[in-house]
C-alpha cells in the first residue's frame, strides 16, 4: 500500500513522462488530426485549478466545510505544472483557431501563447506556495490563498475567452470568463467528492462525526453549485435566445441542429443541474457516500460534455487520442489524490480543527 504512493520527485518525473508521451503522440505522426489536446486541456484545467481553488477558498474563509479534504485537494498542485507543459505543446497547432490567419491585437500567436503560458505558470507557482505554506505548520496567511485565487480567476478567464470562446471567433459572450471559473470551482468540489471515495472509510474510523459532516458538506456544495450553475447557464442562454441576433444565436442553433452536440447538451444539462439537484435535494442523500460520489462523477462528465459541446463543431479531433489523454490524466489525478499524504507530508495546523 505504502509503496504505491508517489513522492514529490516521482510525481514530477511522472508528469514529465506523461507530457512527453502526449507530445510524442501529437507530433510523432501517430494521429492524423490534432485538436484532442486542446479539448483535453480545457477540461483538465478546470478540474485541477478548481480543486486547488476550492482548497484555497475554504482556507481563506476559515471554513470548516471539507476541511478534512483540504490537503488532498492542495496536493494536486504539481498537476498545475502539467497544464502548463501540455499547453506549451499546443504552440505548433494554433492554426486550429479560426483567427490564426487574421491575427488581431489580442488574438495572435505570440501573445496568445505568452499570456496563457504565463498565467498557467503563475497559477502553478501560486498553488505551490499555497500548498507548501499550508503544510508548514505556521499560522495560515491569507495572502497565499488570495494570490492563488487571483491567478486562478485570471487563468480560468483566459481559458474561457481564449481557449473556448476564440474557437468560435468572432462570436462573443461576456460571461465566458466568469462562467468558466465558476465551473472550475464546481469541478473542484466534484473532485472533493471523488476524493471522499478514497478517504471516507479510513477517516470514518478515526473521526466518524467530522468525516460524516464533511461528506454532507460536499453534498451540500454540489447541490448549491448545481443551482448556481443553472442560474449562470440560464442567464447566458436567455439573453442569446431573447435577443435572437443572427450573429449571436448561430452559436446555439448550429450546435443544437447537429447530432452529437444535441445529445451532449442534454447530457450536460442532466449532469450539471437536473441530476445533482434532484438527487441531492433530500438531506439523506447529501450524507450518502454513494450518492455524493456518483453525482461527483456525473458532474465531471457533464463538464466534459459541455466542453465537447462548445468545441466539437469548431475544432477537429482524434477520438482515440482524446480518450487516451483523458484516461491518462484521470489516472494521474487518482494517483496524486492517493499519494497526497506523501506529497504534502505535514498536516496543516488548522485542518484537524475539531468543531
Amino acid at each position: 500500500m505504502h509503496d504505491s504512493k508517489l513522492s514529490a520527485g516521482g510525481c514530477y518525473s511522472l508528469l514529465l513522462i506523461l507530457a512527453a508521451t502526449i507530445g510524442l503522440i501529437e507530433y510523432g505522426g501517430l494521429i492524423d488530426q490534432q485538436g484532442s489536446l486542446l479539448i483535453t486541456l480545457t477540461f483538465w484545467s478546470a478540474v485541477i485549478q478548481g480543486a486547488v481553488a476550492v482548497a484555497a477558498l475554504t482556507a481563506l474563509v476559515r471554513a470548516q466545510w471539507i476541511a478534512s479534504l483540504r490537503r488532498e485537494l492542495l496536493a494536486l498542485y504539481p498537476l498545475l505544472l502539467l497544464l502548463a507543459l501540455l499547453f506549451a505543446l499546443l504552440w505548433p497547432q494554433l492554426d486550429l483557431f479560426p483567427w490564426s490567419d487574421q491575427p488581431t491585437i489580442w488574438l495572435n500567436r505570440p501573445f496568445f501563447m505568452g499570456r496563457n503560458l504565463t498565467s498557467l505558470l503563475l497559477t502553478f507557482l501560486a498553488g505551490r506556495q499555497l500548498a507548501l505554506h499550508s503544510t508548514s505548520g505556521a499560522p495560515f496567511k491569507d495572502r497565499y490563498a488570495v494570490v492563488y485565487l487571483l491567478t486562478f480567476v485570471l487563468s480560468q478567464s483566459l481559458v474561457g475567452f481564449d481557449w473556448l470562446m476564440s474557437a468560435a471567433y468572432p462570436w462573443i459572450s461576456t460571461m465566458f470568463g466568469l462562467y468558466f471559473f465558476t465551473e472550475a470551482l464546481y469541478a473542484g468540489i466534484a473532485v472533493a467528492g471523488l476524493a471522499m471515495l478514497l478517504y471516507f472509510r479510513p477517516r470514518q474510523q478515526i473521526a466518524p462525526k467530522q468525516t460524516a459532516r464533511h461528506l454532507r458538506d460536499v453534498g451540500l456544495l454540489l447541490f448549491g453549485f448545481s443551482i448556481l450553475w443553472a442560474g449562470l447557464f440560464f442567464a447566458q442562454f436567455l439573453l442569446i435566445w431573447y435577443a435572437n441576433l443572427p450573429e449571436e444565436v448561430h452559436f446555439v442553433t448550429e450546435r443544437l441542429a447537429s447530432s452529437p452536440e444535441r445529445e451532449l447538451c442534454w447530457l450536460f444539462l442532466l449532469g450539471l443541474f437536473l441530476t445533482p439537484f434532484v438527487t441531492l435535494l433530500g438531506s439523506e442523500a447529501k450524507g450518502d457516500l454513494r450518492f455524493v460520489s456518483a453525482v461527483s462523477l456525473l458532474v465531471l462528465t457533464g463538464l466534459f460534455a459541455e466542453r465537447l459541446f462548445i468545441l466539437l463543431p469548431a475544432i477537429p479531433h482524434h477520438g482515440g487520442a482524446l480518450l487516451l489523454y483523458n484516461g491518462l490524466l484521470f489516472i494521474m489525478l487518482l494517483l496524486v489524490l492517493h499519494s497526497s499524504e506523501r506529497l504534502l507530508p505535514q498536516a496543516s495546523s488548522e485542518r484537524d480543527d475539531t468543531p
Partner: protein
C-alpha cells in the same frame, strides 16, 4: 454558554437603544422627514403637470428614476446576503448585522418599488401590471422583462418580510416582557403567542433554515432579472451576457457599503461596540472588497470584449462611456467602485472604521453613478447617429431622488427605536 447575568446584560444593552429619543435623533428624523416630504411634493407636482417636468425624453427615456430603482433594489441585496446566505454558510459574524441588514432590505425595497410607479407617469394605472382576472379581459405580457420585475420584486419583498418577521419573533417576546403597559401588549400580540417551547423551537429552526435556503437563490435572481430589463434588448452596452452576475455583484457591493454606512454610526450612537466588534465589520469589508473585484472584472471584460468583437456599435458605446460626454461620471465610478475599494487589501484600513465609513459613502456614490452611466449612455448613443442625444436630470428628478434617501433613512431611524436592532436571541445563543 452564557450565564443568566450576561443574558440580562444583552437584553438591557440592546433594548437601551429603544429608550427615549435624543435631540440629535429627533433632528435626524426631522431632516429625513423633510427630505421625504419634499420628494413627495415634487412627485405630486409631476403627477399634476405631467412627465415633462422630468428630464427624460427622446432618446433617453430611462433616466434617474430607473437609476434610482436599480440602485435601491441593489441596496436591498446585502440584507438578504447577510441574513440568509451567511446563515447557510454558518458565518458567525452575521449576528452583528442581520437584523439591521434585513430591515434595510425591506426599506430599500419599499423605496425601490416607488420608482417604477414614479416613472410610470400615470401612476393610477399601476394595477395593470398585475395578472388578475378582469373585465378588460387582458393579461399581462409575461414575455416582457418588466413583468418579470414585478414578480421578482414583489416575491423578494414578501419573502424578505416573512424572513424578517420570523427572525424577530422570539425578540418580540422579549420586548413584550420588558415593556410594561399597553405598548408591551402590542408587542405581545405581534408574537402571536410565542412561548419558546421545544415544540415551537424545532419547527422554528427548520423554518429559518428553509427560508434562508429559499432566499439564497432569490437574492441572486432578483438583481439578475433587474439586469435583464436592460440586457434582453439589443442596445449596445446593455445586451451582454455578463449582466446578470455583474449586477448581482454590484448590488451586493452597494448593499454592503450601505450596511457599513448605517452600522458604523449606529454602533457608536447606540453604544453597541461590544456586540458589533471591529472584526465583524472587517468581515463585511472583505465582502465589499470581493464584490468590488467582481465588478471590476466585469468592467474590464465588458470594455475588452467590445473591442475584441470588432463590433462597431459596441466599440463606439464603450469609447463614449470612457471618453464621451459622461466621462467624468464614468471615471468617478471606476475610482469609487474599483480603485478605492482595493485599498481594503490592507488589513489596517479594513479595521479603520472612519476610513471604512468614508469609503462606504464613496462606494454608494460610485454605484449610483454606475447605474446612471449604464442606463443613460447606452440610450444616448445607440445605433443611429440621427437619434443620439444627451440627458441631464431635472430638478424634479434630483429632488425625488433626495426624497427617496429621506424616506429610506426615516424608515431606518424609526426602526431603531421600534424594534431591537440586534438579534437578542442569537446573541444569547452565541
Amino acid at each position: 454558554m452564557q450565564n443568566s447575568a450576561s443574558a440580562q446584560q444583552i437584553e438591557q444593552d440592546v433594548l437601551a437603544a429603544m429608550s427615549r429619543p435624543s435631540r440629535c435623533y429627533l433632528a435626524c428624523i426631522l431632516l429625513a422627514g423633510l427630505l421625504f416630504l419634499g420628494g413627495m411634493a415634487l412627485w405630486g407636482r409631476q403627477i399634476a403637470l405631467g412627465m415633462g417636468v422630468a428630464g427624460i425624453s427622446h432618446p433617453v427615456g430611462w433616466g434617474v428614476y430607473i437609476t434610482d430603482f436599480v440602485f435601491w433594489v441593489g441596496i436591498a441585496h446585502s440584507g438578504t446576503l447577510i441574513s440568509a446566505v451567511l446563515y447557510i454558510f454558518r458565518a458567525r459574524f452575521r449576528t452583528s448585522f442581520n437584523r439591521a441588514a434585513e430591515a434595510m432590505t425591506l426599506f430599500a425595497l419599499m423605496v425601490a418599488g416607488l420608482f417604477p410607479l414614479i416613472h410610470l407617469g400615470r401612476v393610477w394605472l399601476a394595477y395593470f401590471l398585475f395578472p388578475y382576472p378582469n373585465q378588460r379581459q387582458l393579461w399581462v405580457n409575461f414575455r416582457s422583462p418588466l413583468v418579470w420585475d414585478v414578480f421578482a420584486v414583489s416575491t423578494y419583498m414578501l419573502v424578505s418580510l416573512v424572513f424578517f418577521y420570523i427572525g424577530l419573533l422570539p425578540d418580540l417576546a422579549i420586548v413584550a416582557r420588558r415593556r410594561p403597559g399597553p405598548v408591551g401588549k402590542i408587542y405581545r400580540l405581534l408574537t402571536l403567542g410565542w412561548v419558546g417551547s421545544s415544540q415551537q423551537w424545532r419547527h422554528y429552526a427548520k423554518l429559518y433554515f428553509l427560508l434562508a435556503a429559499f432566499a439564497t437563490p432569490l437574492v441572486a435572481s432578483v438583481h439578475s432579472i433587474v439586469s435583464w430589463d436592460f440586457a434582453v434588448s439589443i442596445v449596445p452596452g446593455w445586451h451582454t451576457t455578463i449582466f446578470a452576475p455583474y449586477f448581482v455583484a454590484g448590488a451586493i457591493l452597494s448593499g454592503t457599503a450601505m450596511v457599513i454606512t448605517l452600522v458604523i454610526p449606529m454602533r457608536r450612537l447606540l453604544r453597541l461596540e461590544a456586540y458589533i466588534p471591529v472584526t465583524h465589520i472587517e468581515a463585511i469589508a472583505k465582502i465589499l472588497l470581493l464584490t468590488s473585484l467582481i465588478v471590476s472584472f466585469a468592467y474590464i471584460v465588458e470594455q475588452g470584449l467590445a473591442f475584441y468583437s470588432g463590433n462597431l456599435f459596441e466599440m463606439e458605446q464603450f469609447r463614449f462611456r470612457a471618453l464621451g460626454d459622461y466621462r467624468l461620471l464614468f471615471w468617478i465610478m471606476i475610482s469609487c467602485n474599483s480603485l478605492l475599494p482595493m485599498t481594503l487589501f490592507v488589513g489596517r484600513l479594513r479595521r479603520n472604521l472612519a476610513y471604512l465609513f468614508v469609503l462606504s459613502l464613496l462606494v454608494n456614490v460610485g454605484m449610483w453613478l454606475e447605474r446612471f452611466v449604464i442606463v443613460v449612455t447606452s440610450l444616448a448613443r445607440d445605433f443611429d447617429p440621427y437619434a443620439w442625444g444627451n440627458y441631464t436630470p431635472s430638478l424634479t428628478e434630483i429632488g425625488i431622488t433626495a426624497g427617496s434617501f429621506g424616506l429610506f433613512f426615516l424608515l431606518f431611524l424609526l426602526f431603531i427605536k421600534v424594534l431591537p436592532v440586534l438579534s437578542i436571541t442569537e446573541l444569547k445563543e452565541r
